[in-house]
């Protein structure tokens, strides 16, 4: 029976493996091969990190993603724990509103930022009325920063709320019974207990920001972030080898970020979007 079941299980597993290989593993391998078929061969990777334009873009993207991650974690951490710990009227409505943008694709997020901080946006109108000069943030690095925040906060809040709900409250009660002040309880018990959740959702936030294309595509006409550069290399310059090489760089960075988080936090970490 063992053998027959093994056979059946293998059969159940095979279609997924075939599709996965055909539409993911093989194409990615092909992409890697393609990157070295340009005029400079494997040297394209050296070119990619030595060309100032690409290097600068890479730096921008990493810096932007890292700062978005940091701000997202602080904001979502505070709000997530707050929502998990307090019961008040309107709480469930607040949670619903906070998680509504969860399913927005990057383009919609971009549009939201245009409405908020674009040429005809709310911030522009308010500053226009107050100071006589419209402040337009949407089409700059700041706009991108806001967009990535908009994209990341709902996801991170949901995750951190879930981890805060799972925490053993008796640990905090024990700390308080031993005389710890609320601040000390937060520092010594609450934050350490949240660390795995913070690391994993931080890694996801970083990885999605690195690879986010839709938001940048809608907003950033003049800002070079890596996904946009890859897109322009491919579609406008037809420099397939460089686009492939840069994509592999990008994939390697996000994959590494998630792997490190997984190794440190120990649970399954995955990006979305």
């Amino acid at each position: 029976m063992e053998n027959r079941n093994t056979l059946l299980l293998t059969a159940m597993f095979t279609p997924a493996l075939v599709v996965f290989t055909a539409f993911f593993l093989l194409p990615l391998a092909r992409l890697a091969v393609e990157s070295s078929l340009g005029p400079s061969g494997v040297g394209i990777y050296i070119a990619a990190i030595t060309t100032p334009r690409y290097l600068e873009t890479l730096g921008y993207t990493v810096f932007l993603s890292a700062s978005v991650t940091l701000v997202t974690l602080v904001v979502s951490g505070v709000s997530g724990v707050f929502l998990a710990r307090n019961e008040f009227r309107g709480r469930s409505l607040l949670v619903s509103l906070l998680t509504f943008p969860l399913a927005f694709p990057g383009v919609v997020v971009g549009f939201m930022i245009i409405l908020l901080a674009g040429r005809q946006g709310l911030i522009g109108d308010i500053t226009g009325c107050l100071f006589g000069a419209k402040v337009v943030l949407a089409y700059s690095m700041t706009g991108l920063f806001l967009g990535y925040l908009y994209f990341s906060i709902p996801r991170t809040i949901t995750t951190l709320m879930a981890s805060a709900e799972k925490l053993d409250r008796s640990l905090e009660e024990a700390a308080r019974s031993l005389g710890a002040s609320p601040w000390r309880v937060t520092r010594d018990v609450l934050i350490p207990a949240l660390v795995p959740g913070l690391i994993s959702s931080g890694a996801i936030c970083f990885a999605t920001s690195m690879g986010a294309f839709g938001t940048a595509f809608t907003l950033a006409t003049h800002i070079d972030v890596l996904p946009i550069v890859i897109y322009t290399e491919f579609t406008l310059m037809a420099n397939i080898a460089m686009a492939a090489a840069l994509s592999i760089f990008l994939g390697a960075i996000t994959w590494a970020a998630l792997s490190v988080a997984r190794a440190v936090a120990g649970n399954t970490v995955a990006a979305a979007g």
Binding site: L9, F82, I153, A271, G273
Partner: protein, 643 residues
């Protein structure tokens, strides 16, 4: 309550509201913009629905295509993902683990890179490149991990292994188990995965933008177009359409994820009423029905059954055992001694190492899988199917065997009556108390008229009082049914009460086989003696037919004296010693502690023998610590034991 308005609370609430504003204000703006005549002028310009008409005219095909791709993607994720997840949970080997790792990579690799790879690899296949199937391929790769992970998570959460073994013990084969047990119980996970997949597919942009052609534009692609080229109002109206599409999906997701309140069920059956008058119940149940309650049990024989696990651990040394038809054998041992492995070999859930054979009657069933062995099995976790009612659980084994509905219903009624749970017939499993679940599990196992009934620590999950009551009930049941039963437990009281014979096990091997009395009064080893009840050790020197101890000396019968004078160790049970008045030649001791236990008092004595003694005396006497007493040990009760 005061804490609620503390500065900390206010600050956190403030931050949360600010974040909420940041997220929701543009949503409101877009809704307003999509409904107003002219966004620049504002609501003053008047409200209109004409932008929606425009959107319908311009983009209805993108909406239709997105739904089409979303549904196709969902179908693919279900067909590919659910069986694959099941296989990965069941078969943990290098290939499945590698695949599990690989499955996460599409989540780590940016959509742009995946899209580029697809274009580079398949771009030459023009027909495929130009069709929406090309976008579908990308979406399937991107969403499949979510489905697989969601299904894997639920399969780990529902004790799938127990449920499947339960179904197999009732005769269900691979396909039937997958369709009737695995899928129905994984529904919440599958549903959550399905909603996720569909929502992700509808909103996917990163991949889709690269993969789309002018003929294959999806909703997000259309959105990007509308933002880039059209009036803000049209973009806004289109965004509202998108909101309207995802809101039901988000609501459904929240509903699926909401933890269901677990019903807490009181133990309704008080121990007194739980004791059926079995002489009245069982024979009459058998008389009234046209069918006997059970078929007579089969003899069982194990021959040289050993078990070595893949990692090289020896769970069981070669093991022989013969069980007569109708006999109840209890396998007793500490946890990890191999008793459950032994039971699983008898059941057919594990196969013995090559050379071991299992016989039911004269038939060699070693190669027969559990679903065709016709055994009844009661699991420690009960393994009742949560997707079925009490009656459906009990009937399941009969249904698998193709018994017609009328006979099935009769048998279920008979079982319900026998277990005194008639009123639970149509209850869902989650509304049962532990004791009720235990009864249902027994009824389900007995309903199929098994050749052998196997019980794996069936009472361990219950509290003490209920355990005692059910133990008496199971005893009555096994005797009146005359069924061959193997009962695994680590509880010596259960073993004593239930077993015709007891097999005491210690680390992968048999320590002793015998009737409860033999095991208790004539344990063969120290392990057996110490595992069952309490035993005292007397270590001393033999001199002139007496054992010399710190507290005095004892006369030794010939039987335990040994060939020559020298050091020996003898053992006796607490009840084989009594306190005597001073000066009667007993061992001198002082009371170290006394425990009043109602009918008797247990005394720990020191000074009489090395390591102290435990003895029992009548409950009505009081002792204080340090009191001097004199103890006499019955010479006939002294035992010599191998180490």
């Amino acid at each position: 309550m005061k804490r609620r308005f503390s500065p900390a609370f206010t600050a956190q609430l403030g931050l949360t509201l600010a974040v909420c504003g940041f997220l929701i204000v543009p949503v409101v703006q877009s809704v307003v913009a999509g409904l107003t005549e002219n966004f620049m002028v504002g609501v003053k310009s008047g409200l209109t629905l004409r932008w929606f008409v425009k959107v319908w005219g311009l983009y209805r095909e993108t909406i239709a295509l997105s739904i089409l791709i979303g549904l196709a993607c969902l179908a693919c994720a279900l067909v590919l993902g659910v069986p694959a997840a099941y296989a990965m949970v069941k078969r943990q080997n290098r290939l499945t683990r590698l695949f599990e790792e690989l499955l996460v990579t599409p989540l780590a690799v940016p959509g742009l890179a995946i899209a580029l790879a697809l274009i580079v690899h398949y771009g030459a296949f023009t027909a495929f490149r130009r069709s929406w199937a090309f976008i579908l391929a990308g979406h399937v790769i991107f969403t499949l991990p979510f489905m697989v992970r969601s299904v894997i998570a639920i399969m780990h959460a529902i004790r799938l292994k127990d449920l499947e073994e339960g179904a197999a013990s009732l005769g269900a084969g691979f396909g039937r188990r997958f369709v009737q047990i695995v899928i129905p119980n994984a529904v919440p996970g599958i549903l959550a995965g399905a909603l996720m997949v569909f929502t992700l597919s509808i909103g996917e942009f990163n991949l889709t933008w690269m993969l789309h052609t002018p003929q294959t534009k999806t909703l997000p692609v259309g959105l990007a177009d509308s933002y880039a080229s059209m009036r803000l109002e049209i973009g806004s109206a289109y965004t509202i359409v998108f909101f309207l599409m995802i809101i039901p999906l988000l609501v459904a997701m929240q509903w699926v994820a909401k933890p269901r309140p677990r019903t807490f069920v009181m133990e309704a059956i008080a121990p007194a009423t739980a004791l059926p008058d079995r002489r009245a119940v069982f024979p009459s149940a058998a008389d009234r029905s046209d069918e006997p309650v059970t078929g007579s049990g089969t003899a069982l024989r194990l021959q040289g059954c050993a078990k070595t696990f893949a990692d090289g651990t020896r769970a069981l040394e070669p093991f022989d055992l013969s069980v007569e038809a109708g006999e109840t054998v209890v396998i007793l041992g500490p946890s990890g001694c191999g008793k459950t492995t032994l039971l699983r070999i008898i059941a057919g859930l594990e196969s013995p190492d090559p050379g071991g054979r299992v016989y039911f009657g004269g038939e060699d069933v070693t190669e027969v899988p559990i679903e065709r062995r016709n055994v009844g099995m009661v699991f420690q976790s009960y393994a009742l199917f949560p997707n079925m009612t009490v009656a459906e659980n009990i009937a399941y084994g009969l249904k698998v065997r193709g018994v017609d509905t009328a006979r099935r219903n009769r048998r279920v009624s008979q079982m319900l009556e026998m277990m005194k749970i008639g009123e639970l017939r149509n209850r869902p499993i989650e509304q049962l108390s532990g004791g009720q679940k235990q009864r249902v599990a027994l009824a389900r196992a007995i309903a199929i008229r098994p050749r052998v009934l196997l019980l794996d620590e069936p009472l361990t999950a219950l509290d003490a009082k209920l355990r005692d009551a059910l133990r008496v009930e199971i005893d009555g049941l096994l005797r009146s049914l005359g069924i061959t039963a193997i009962y695994v437990t680590h509880d010596q009281a259960e073993a004593m009460a239930l077993g015709d014979r007891i097999v005491v096990m210690n680390i992968a091997r048999v320590a002793q086989v015998g009737t409860p009395r033999e095991i208790y009064f004539a344990p063969r080893t120290r392990f057996v003696a110490e595992f069952i009840g309490t035993i005292n050790r007397l270590k001393g020197r033999v001199q002139g037919g007496r054992l010399i101890l710190p507290g005095g000396s004892l006369p030794l019968p010939e039987r335990v004296r040994g060939p020559a004078d020298g050091e020996i160790e003898l053992f006796f049970r607490p009840e084989h010693a009594r306190l005597v008045d001073p000066g009667q030649g007993g061992l001198q001791a002082t009371v170290a502690a006394s425990f009043f236990m109602g009918d008797r008092t247990r005394l720990l004595l020191e000074g009489a023998a090395e390591g102290g003694l435990t003895i029992e005396t009548a409950g009505n006497r009081c002792f204080r610590k340090g009191q001097r007493v004199e103890v006499v040990v019955e010479p006939d009760a002294l035992l010599r034991l191998d180490a």
